[in-house]
Amino acid sequence: MISTKRRVFLKGTLAAGTVGVAVGAGLLAPSKLLAAWPSEAFGAEGLEAAMEAVTGSSDIADGDVTLSAPEIAENGAVVPVSIESGLDNVTEMAVFVELNNQPLTAHYVLADGAHANVSGRIRMGESSNVVAAVKSGDTWYKTVQEVKVTVGGCGG
């Protein structure tokens, strides 16, 4: 049962990744992200492309971003992830899973009154680096943590 779902999930991410490349091949303007659901960024395949679609660059500096995620996740279908930052004027936050076919998992737009503190649960197809990025003023900062997904998770 579990391994069947695993296969299904993997096939799903692969298929969607291919579509994502076609969709993501167009022009990407980070400012678009503030309005509608950013389909190009979500469809982007590969960490660099996804980060570039969201932040405008795949090479952003490490900074005051705290990513809380388990070192070892027994179940890749439900991996708890929290991002927090002490930076001022945070307007966007994003979570990427490097080895998921579509790395961009969640993108948050903060308005007045929002604190740079969001938690959720994500799917990971396999052990991978997780990147949390935060936009403070006009600059993005990131932090990276590896999460190992053990057998029985959602993906291999």
Partner: protein, 94 residues
């Protein structure tokens, strides 16, 4: 469909925890992909946080965040998925 929300204030900060029931189907699932794309968090009718999600957010999504505010305020959570379905709920901050 349901959204369970708890919003509690402490020292001028509202802690919001929302549990949304949604299958979050990946592309290869029957009927997939079918997933929540956007969640809006509002306080007293004004947007505070917009969450944009991929299908790689887990089934029955959980969202926790903090916003400025006080007890007695109203917090609403609304979502829309990629097939145009939606749901929303409103709670009073304790």
């Amino acid at each position: 469909m349901s959204i369970r929300v708890r919003a509690q204030e402490s020292n001028g900060v509202i802690n919001i925890r929302a549990l949304i029931s949604h299958d979050m189907l990946v592309p290869d699932d029957d009927g997939g992909p079918h997933f929540i794309e956007t969640v809006e968090v509002a306080r007293n009718g004004s947007n505070v946080l917009t969450a944009n999600w991929n299908y790689t957010v887990s089934r029955n999504p959980f969202l926790q965040t903090e916003i400025d505010g006080s007890s007695g305020d109203t917090v609403s959570i609304s979502w829309t998925d990629n097939k145009g379905e939606s749901d929303s709920t409103e709670v009073e901050v304790r």
